[in-house]
């Protein structure tokens, strides 16, 4: 028989008739033996009954018309466009038809979905950069290789990146760079030149989710990429540092 902790999250759904027959049966068996959970179901039903009778204060028809006219004027471009108090990107939040654990998880999974290779974003580096910041990839976790010949590209990329890193890191070594925590394994995979393009490539199957980058005085934004490498990093000076 299922325990109280196992059935507890389903007690509300049982009261709402939102469980599958299989789930409902499992909960029903538990309820036959457990008076405390039966009490919780009754409480859920009682609160729901109170909510069912709860209506917001009515709005007069004239008020609705007034609001409708304002919307129509906005739509037709009459008068000054409304300055919104809520964020403008709200309208872009179209739900997807598939059921996903959460928006964040869906967004995080997107780079791992195989498909046509999207164009890689351009990397812009501020020309006012005083010295090349070092980009350090920390907590690198190896992931399973899925492409038959992807390793060739990685080897070439790693060799190119190593050369560029070696050249570009020279000035950086002349000034102190914040040391990584001694316990965290650190692998330097890229360096940003002051005016040139960024060279960034995972040495071997670097998961973008495990990348943490720190550069004092800069905000680094990782964009693009897939399961095997990091596509690009946007380097933006922190506002506080002028």
């Amino acid at each position: 028989m299922a325990t109280c902790d196992e059935v507890k999250p389903m007690l509300g759904a049982l009261a709402d008739k939102e469980l599958s027959p299989l789930e409902a049966d499992a909960v029903a068996i538990h309820l036959e033996q457990c008076s405390r959970c039966r009490q919780i179901v009754r409480e859920q039903q009682r609160v729901q009954h109170v909510l069912d009778s709860f209506q917001p204060p009515p709005v007069a028809e004239g008020r609705w018309d007034q609001l409708g006219k304002r919307l129509r004027a906005e739509f037709e471009g009459k008068g000054t466009p409304a300055k919104l108090k809520t964020r403008t990107r709200i309208a872009s939040l179209e739900p997807t038809p598939m059921s996903v654990p959460s928006l964040r998880a869906e967004e995080m999974a997107a780079p791992f979905q195989r498909g046509p290779e999207p164009p890689r974003p351009m990397v812009r580096v501020p020309s006012t950069t005083a010295r090349p910041p070092a980009v350090r990839v920390m907590k690198v976790r190896p992931v399973r290789r899925r492409d038959g010949f992807a390793w060739v590209a990685h080897v070439v990329g790693a060799v190119a990146a190593t050369i560029i890193i070696a050249i570009a890191m020279v000035p950086a070594y002349l000034s102190p760079v914040p040391a990584a925590p001694p316990s965290a394994p650190v692998t330097t995979v890229a360096t940003v030149a002051p005016t040139g393009p960024i060279a960034l490539a995972g040495p071997e199957d670097v998961s973008i989710l495990d990348v943490e980058m720190t550069v004092p005085g800069y905000n680094l934004i990782v964009s693009g990429g897939d399961a095997d490498d990091v596509a690009a990093v946007l380097v933006v000076p922190s506002k506080g540092d002028g």
Binding site: K8, P9, M10, L11, G12, A13, D16, E18, I40, E43, Q44, R46, V47, Q48, V50, L51, D52, S53, F54, Q55, P56, P57, V59, R63, W64, L67, G68, R70, L71, R72, E74, F75, E76, A82, L84, K85, T86, R87, T88, I90, A91, S92, L93, E94, P95, T96, P97, S99, V100, P101, S102, L103, E106
Partner: protein
């Protein structure tokens, strides 16, 4: 049982018709037809207001949220791809707009506390009409107050299901969470309400 199933089928067909009508209106709106906007507004304004009211807790604020939500619809209609129903999209906009509005409102309160020069004071209890003040004493006011004391996430799920009558699946779509999460949020919200309304509901 058969009768119940027929009733359920009829309800599904009606919902399907409503969805198709919305989709047709959205197509017209994308082409710039203002009448389509009027009809979409008429069809959904009450439900949008119901959600907004339970999330912001005042009629005036809720109406402002409804207005902003429909402006978001107008401005974003060309990006709406029809992957969900218009109703789900709109409710999602209303929910996000209402939660955003609450944050904006909270900042206004902080500002007005920092400086008394604010020209647009926030609604205070004293702004209410005698009828509204009297309503504070009834169950509706107690529910309002209790709803404002549960977490935003749990409240949004509860309102969409318990008050707007959406099934768990649609609540999950609107909020972008899994059905399991909807289940636990609604359960937790009602348990919290039971504590807060212990006097009123016994």
């Amino acid at each position: 049982m058969v009768g119940g199933r027929r009733q359920g089928d009829a309800a599904d067909e009606a919902a399907e018709r409503e969805t198709r009508r919305d989709a047709a209106l959205v197509d017209h709106l994308k082409k710039g037809d203002a009448k389509a906007l009027d009809e979409l507004y008429r069809r959904h304004r009450e439900a949008a207001y119901g959600i907004a009211y339970r999330l912001v807790g005042s009629r005036e604020d809720a109406l402002e949220v409804v207005q902003e939500a429909f402006i978001h619809v107008m401005r974003g209609i060309q990006t709406f791809r029809g992957q969900s129903s218009f109703r789900t999209w709109l409710y999602r906009i209303v929910t996000h707009a209402a939660l955003d509005y609450r944050r904006w409102r909270a900042l206004r309160v902080v500002d007005s506390l920092d400086s008394d020069t604010s020209t647009e004071p926030v609604a205070q209890a004293s702004d209410r009409s005698p009828q509204e003040a009297a309503a504070d004493r009834d169950l509706g006011a107690a529910i309002d107050k209790a709803l404002s004391n549960i977490s935003e996430k749990n409240r949004a799920a509860l309102i969409l299901f318990a008050i707007e009558g959406m099934p768990y699946k649609e609540v999950a779509d609107v909020l972008g969470i899994s059905i399991g999460t909807v289940m636990s949020r609604i359960f937790n919200a009602r348990q919290r309400l039971r504590e807060l309304l212990a006097t009123e509901i016994g």
